[in-house]
Amino acid sequence: MAVPAAETHQGVGARVRRKEDERFLRGRGRYVGDIRFAGQLEVAFVRSPLAHGRIRRIHVPDAHAGMVFHAGHLEGVGGIRAVSGLPGFKVSEQPVLAQGKVRFAGEPIAMCVAATRAEAEDIAEQVVAEIDELPANVDMLRAVEPGAALVHEEWGDNLFLETLVDGDLDAVRSRAAVEVKRTFRTARQCMLPLEGKGAVVHYDRNVQQIVLYTSTQMPHIVRTGLAGCLGMDERRIRVVGPDVGGGFGWKGLLQPEEVCLAWLTLHLDRPVRWQEDRREHLVAAANCREHHYEITAWADPDGRLLGLDALAHVDAGAYSVYPFSACLEAAQVGSILPGPYDFEAYRCRTRSVCTNKPPIVPYRGVARTGVCFAMELIIDAIAREVGREPHEVRAINLVPASAMPFRNITGKDFDGGDYPASLAKAVDAIDVAAVRRRQRAGEPDGRRIGVGFATYTEQGAHGTSVYHGWGIPMVPGHEQAGARLTPDGTLELRVGNHSHGQSMETTLAQVANEILGIDPAKVDLVHGDTALTPYSTGTWGSRSAVMAGGAVATACEQLGERIKGIGAHLLQAPVDRVRIEGGRVVAGSASVDFKEVAATWYLKPQHLPAEVDQGGLEVVAGYRPKVDTGTFSYATHAALVAVDTETGGIELLDYVIVEDGGRLINPMVVDGQILGGAAQGIGTALYEEMPYDAGGQPLASTLADYLIPGAAEMPEVRILHMETPSPNTRFGQKGLGEGGAIAPPAAITNAVNDALRDLGIEMTESPLTPRRLLAALIEAEERTS
């Protein structure tokens, strides 16, 4: 048989169309809400109407006894504990239904079951929790002052953890020509995936397992955590992630509702479902991004950064979430605030503050969005102080390509790239010179335009060496993948992480194609099911392309050896004379396809010699990068804005992203990731904010109040790629799924400040709502009049 002509490249680097779109674009995905079991009941949670209080009594109308369950019913169910090993960390235990106290508005108090969700809500309306209200901690800066009400009385204060990255600043302070001090604040947000959190659970008698279908990013971790709460063997629990409509971190934890449902299905012996609705999400899951920074920076007369001293507060909410804990965010602030810059002295103190708000959860980019906002605004402040273009000051401070690989001031190992080149390309693409001319000429409509930049690094695929230091319940290690050739010669891949929009069914098939030459159409990905896949910490921290990609490549290589062994025999060629090409085993001008190899192994073993590898056509292989401190993708974002000083409106006239994600497995998927992230970053920059009143009530409980960018608010984002392969990963790929969401608040705010510079206005708080901007404009006018 002749070798067919090489088809169009479908391996690593190809713009292969997404396999999963066949069902997604036809509305045929299967989400938690699409699953229904016979006899299934629906659950509505009664949630705390108060931010802080002591529960006196929960009153259930007699008519609904047996349909309503509160903490008193959940005998033997443990709370959620996510302890950090960092010294001084104070432990919170989150009861899965409030016990004794309520600590945030929206905290689950009871669950009500009925045939339909509407009827379950009818019951929930009649359940009354009598709660003695306590003063609520709404502002993290006041929560750490003496006399603040205590969220967890036994602590004696409201601090989960304080950390200090120490350094000697005296030398730079004494010789610096320039000192700038700024205070920055970023608002609390919701993650708002299109599909809310949801779970449906039943008990499978055949295998004596609780089967939890849940909208999750990490089925194996949920299983481990759930087994702990229920005091059960893990083998008695199976967790399945069906299609997941976005996660962004909100689905990267064990949630109290999952534990409640697992208990409930055992208690009732009925399948039960809970589907988070939008209002529940806005109220009970406003859980990310809230930071406060006080920063002093020292620089020389050229704007060369010499040192940085920071105090950062993170509003960590009421409890520590499993597995990431309440300290990940602030600890990350301390280690990544220096960003992509090289300077000599650094000190950062962080405080994870416990407040009466939902527990903080790492959202796309985790602390990076806040850190980038603080650092990039400081760079611009220095530039203004020394009278230079902000991009020039950035350029002289970025780690140069010649220094790569580079260990930065907090010990981060940057794995290559040309940061200044990404900035230079962005400066060029947004055309700063043209902007300056246009600013001098003025806009015909009276608006003010401005240009802003932000450069960042994104650490992805963090490994053991990064995570063990934080001592949280989950430390990632080796990633595994299974590869199985079916009797008809198609390939099944099995991985333990789970896609919530990452297109892994496509990209991992491309990896298999790269190794085995098999058509991606003949490759299926099995993922998201603890019964069918190797253990994995899941999909988080921009790790799947590196970790699952590396594991699938290794598994395919090992499977390829087995295929070659059988193929060589069929071709009557020595095994060292055959190779795999285009889904076939080739020896000279002869070849045999995978189908024949597989059929021989499974169905016609009489044709095989006795000494054939008995492992067959299925392997599980592990992978860990050569250096596991993480990949560092990076980018520069450049924004051109027009500011309407009459209305406080901000229009994005142009937006450029120059991104280096190492070798891209599928550039089209990467562009999708960048655009989606950028939309969320624009939300952080301009719209998204969960305000609270003095009593801790969330004030944006509908999408009429909690604004997110829509199609009309999205600019035409121009993406330019650079490709510097990582020396440490299988194909040189780097994690980059979060990056788009990191820089927009910084780039846009810098652009707005550029536009308003003549008016003496410098915005330092996100989001830049019209109200916030107009208040600053009015204040500036009053100052000068």
Binding site: E121, D277, E646, T702, A704, G710
Partner: protein
């Protein structure tokens, strides 16, 4: 968020609908674009929903002399698309095109919007400026006309009696030199307005009227606005007079909306 249980009745005529409204807890349902979310969030828990979408004549649209008459169930999208007669200067179409999102406009109705009387809604302000009236029908078949400027009494409150239903909206046509200016400010496309102003300058009919919307209650009408139209310097005073001056940020947004609505009069 699921609606509490309610009964549903589909009215064949508006008289019949008005009769059903006499029942306790009855509420009318037209396009359901405001009521729907209120039901789901249980902010509204009616005992009976009276569906008027299928009533005869609900989507009529015709010119009666100097007045365009629109059935109460004419949708924003029908107006936006020019599927109904215009009053002049594309006034109705321009207002309709800016209401919320297209999906909402395909179901939301002009009559429902007026009866809902949201101060930040478009039609109460725009139609008051255009000098429109509504004709309402009561349970016994009795009819009366109410000026839109009077219809809205306060936030979500109208003069409609319990058994009255809006049947038509009657909008006077502009003279050839008539100009309509309209501007709303919202923090995002499709959101409710934070600053809203409509102005009609129609020398042919001796009308010069400004209506300021997005107030705390009813739209603020200046029947003779000649002075401000000629000299926008009076805008801050107007904002104060409309009771919108206390918060400087808010006042600035209202002033900007008024200034831009006036500027629209002179657009090419």
């Amino acid at each position: 968020v699921k609606a509490a249980a309610f009964d549903y009745a589909r009215a064949e005529t508006l008289e019949q609908a008005a009769g059903l409204l006499q029942q306790d807890g009855a509420r009318i349902m037209a396009g359901c674009q405001s009521l729907g979310p209120m039901l789901n969030m249980r902010l509204a828990q009616p005992a009976l929903l009276v569906d008027v979408n299928h009533c005869k004549g609900g989507r009529r649209a015709e010119v009666e002399g100097e007045v365009v008459v629109l059935g109460a169930c004419v949708t924003h999208a029908m107006i936006e698309d020019g599927r109904v007669p215009e009053v002049g200067d594309r006034a109705l179409a321009r207002v309709a095109a800016g209401i919320a999102y297209r999906a909402i406009r395909t179901r939301g109705t002009i009559g429902g919007s007026l009866a809902h009387a949201d101060p930040a809604g478009d039609w109460p302000t725009a139609l008051a400026a255009l000098g429109a009236e509504v004709e309402v029908v009561a349970a016994g078949g009795g009819r009366r006309r109410i000026a839109v400027a009077d219809l809205v009494e306060g936030a979500f409150e109208t003069l409609l009696r319990r058994d009255e239903v809006i049947e038509t909206v009657r909008v006077p046509r502009l003279s050839p030199e008539g100009r309509f200016g309209y501007h709303k400010l919202s923090s995002r496309v499709g959101e409710l307005s934070e600053g809203l102003c409509a102005v009609l300058r129609d020398p042919g009919r001796d009308v010069c009227r400004i209506v300021v919307g997005a107030t705390d209650g009813k739209p603020y009408v200046v029947e003779d606005a000649t002075t401000i139209v000629d000299d926008p310097g009076g805008i801050p005073e107007l904002v104060k007079a409309a009771g919108l001056g206390h918060d400087p940020v808010h006042a600035r947004l209202h002033a900007a909306a008024i200034r831009r609505a006036l500027a629209e009069l002179d657009r090419p």
